[in-house]
């Protein structure tokens, strides 16, 4: 084929698509869009990394779904995935590592957004939807953890559900509803499976779309230090292709990290859950629940009976509400002003989270 013929064929193809999908419009839009560039720009990548990890979760999750059998055969099916099916161990390890990395990335994303005061007007809903996505991610983790149905999964869920159980009046009702009975059983696994693969994704996905739409609508937030600069001193780079390429490079790095972690440290499978066996010594939740686990432990030691748990939960709820309402009471960080109190509050929250997590691991 001659060069001219080849290019006319390409043009015709492009035109056919462009007339129907407005490719030129999209491209012009992507080229016009800019992303601010300053010394804190690095933190902009963490939202994209979180999104990539979520996509990895979808893909590996669907692959696990091919062989996973919820119900009484759950443990056996996970055993087959891990030890019999080719590369099943790798898919499972990638799903597990990527889940942990995703929660970590979302947390980094949240704290960096907090420190940059990205929650300020008009981005309140971006903040709230992001927070909802973090909580749902943790719920993803909690429900997915049980599906393996080994000893650790069983007791982690048992303990996890005893906490709402200690709430007065509605506690036992809620816990029984979550378990599908007074005990963690294959019935619990079945409903956690429904939560993990249908209910939570069905809630998560529209909120994610909303979150991304808001990010697109309002553009990347710049920190107050950057806002203080005159407009001509602020720098930005085009979204397409510059930022997108950098974003994709981050995705590639993340993919490599998952590959290394999953192949070097694949997840193991403990003995099958047995309600008649005593709990293994030193059992503890995943790292992202360690902070709350430790706080409950401290309160449990300070107060008799379930009072400690109840007080701990009230404290969590208050903390979470305070965190969520940050955009409403941090009025000092108006245009260009640094909000020291808000920074101290965010630092304090980060400090509590990190120290209680470390304390939790040391106290095991």
């Amino acid at each position: 084929m001659s060069e001219a013929k080849k290019s006319s064929w390409k043009t015709a193809c492009y035109q056919w698509l462009d007339e129907r999908l407005d490719l030129a419009g999209w491209l012009a839009f992507a080229k016009k869009k800019t992303v601010p560039e300053h010394k804190h720009s690095f933190w902009y990548y963490w939202g994209g990394i979180s999104l990539f990890l979520f996509l990895v979760q979808c893909l590996t999750g669907v692959l696990l779904l091919v062989y996973f059998r919820p119900g009484p055969e759950a443990y056996e099916s996970v055993r087959q995935i891990t030890y019999e099916i080719h590369f099943g161990w790798l898919i499972r390890a990638a799903h597990s590592w990527s889940a942990n990395l995703m929660i970590f990335a979302v947390m980094v994303h949240m704290f960096s957004a907090a420190f940059m005061k990205a929650y300020r007007k008009p981005r309140e809903f971006t903040w709230w939807s992001g927070l909802a996505l973090l909580l749902l991610s943790m719920l993803f983790g909690f429900s997915g953890y049980l599906l393996v149905w080994d000893e650790t999964a069983y007791f982690a869920t048992k303990v996890g559900l005893e906490i709402p159980h200690s709430l007065p009046w509605i506690g036992p009702f809620l816990a029984d509803l979550a378990r599908g009975g007074p005990d963690v059983s294959p019935t619990t696994l079945q409903r956690f499976f429904a939560l993990h693969v249908v209910v939570i994704p069905a809630i998560f996905t529209p909120i994610l779309v909303f979150h991304l739409w808001l990010v697109q609508k309002h553009g990347n937030a710049v920190p107050p230090s950057e806002e203080a600069k005159p407009k001509e001193q602020r720098k930005s780079i085009p979204f397409f292709p510059n930022f997108l390429m950098k974003d994709l490079a981050m995705w590639l790095i993340t993919l490599n990290v998952i590959a290394i972690l999953a192949s070097m440290w694949p997840v193991q499978l403990g003995p099958a859950a047995d309600p008649l066996k005593p709990a293994p010594v030193g059992i503890h939740p995943e790292w992202y629940y360690m902070s709350s686990f430790q706080v409950l432990k401290i309160f449990g030691a300070l107060f008799p009976g379930t009072t400690g748990e109840v007080l701990g939960m009230i404290l969590f709820t208050l903390g979470l509400v305070l965190w969520a309402l940050l955009p409403l009471y941090d009025t000092s960080s108006q245009f260009g002003k640094r909000a020291k109190q808000a920074t101290y509050f965010i630092l304090f929250a980060l400090f509590v989270l990190v120290t209680t997590t470390i304390w939790g691991y040391l106290a095991l």
Binding site: L63, V66, E84, I85, H86, F87, G88, L90, I91, A259
Partner: protein, 199 residues
């Protein structure tokens, strides 16, 4: 790099000559990049007919490298995913590799009746004919893989999906759409069991 060398590289760019001059050919990668910048600075308004050959080469090289890396990643992800999804296929292939099966108590099968059994992974038929002869064959229709049945009253093997008919003794396709006969197996009757052998 000295200024004259740059100029020579620049003339190459301006002229859009496809062949490399001795200076441009010997110049480093940086020369050619410098040359491109220089041509912009000198406000060259005429349409650039083509890029410098070295830039074309470099661009092609980088694209090639990126494509290779992309293929590498696609293979590194695609291969485990393929093997993962194909696991049961391999398992079935092992199970299907059975050449002989012993059917306990099958010798008690009444005359003019048939027994459906699993041979490897697929269904098969063992028929005890009215004249006390035996036959065994695959029960998978050669048309579109439905499972066939033995009809004693009509002395035929019939496929309910598209009315294919086979001979119950030879497995020959007699009527309807089936393109080939059913695979026939060897039958050995022992006291207390029947052995069916492939081939």
């Amino acid at each position: 790099m000295s200024e004259p060398e740059k100029k020579v590289a620049l003339t190459t760019t301006e002229a859009g000559v496809a062949t490399e001059t001795s200076v441009a050919g010997g110049a480093s990668v940086a020369t050619e990049a410098d040359g491109a910048t220089q041509s912009e600075e000198t406000e060259q308004t005429e349409a650039m007919p083509s890029k410098a050959p070295e830039e074309m080469h470099r661009r092609a090289f980088i694209y090639g490298l990126a494509a290779m890396a992309g293929c590498g990643y696609a293979a590194a992800i695609g291969y485990p995913v393929y093997r993962y999804l194909a696991s049961p296929v391999e398992k079935a292939a092992t199970a299907a590799a059975v050449n002989e099966i012993s059917l306990p108590k099958a010798d008690e099968l009444p005359k003019g009746s048939a027994l459906m059994f699993k041979f490897g992974t697929a269904p098969a038929l063992l028929i005890h004919h009215a004249d006390d002869t035996w036959s065994a064959m695959s029960a998978v229709c050669t048309h579109l893989a439905c499972t066939v049945q033995y009809e004693a009253d009509q002395n035929r093997i019939y496929c309910g999906c598209h009315s294919g008919v086979y001979d119950p003794k030879t497995g020959a396709n007699v009527a309807g759409p089936p393109p080939r006969p059913l695979t026939l197996f060897k039958v050995t009757v022992h006291p207390g069991s029947v052995t069916v052998t492939r081939g």
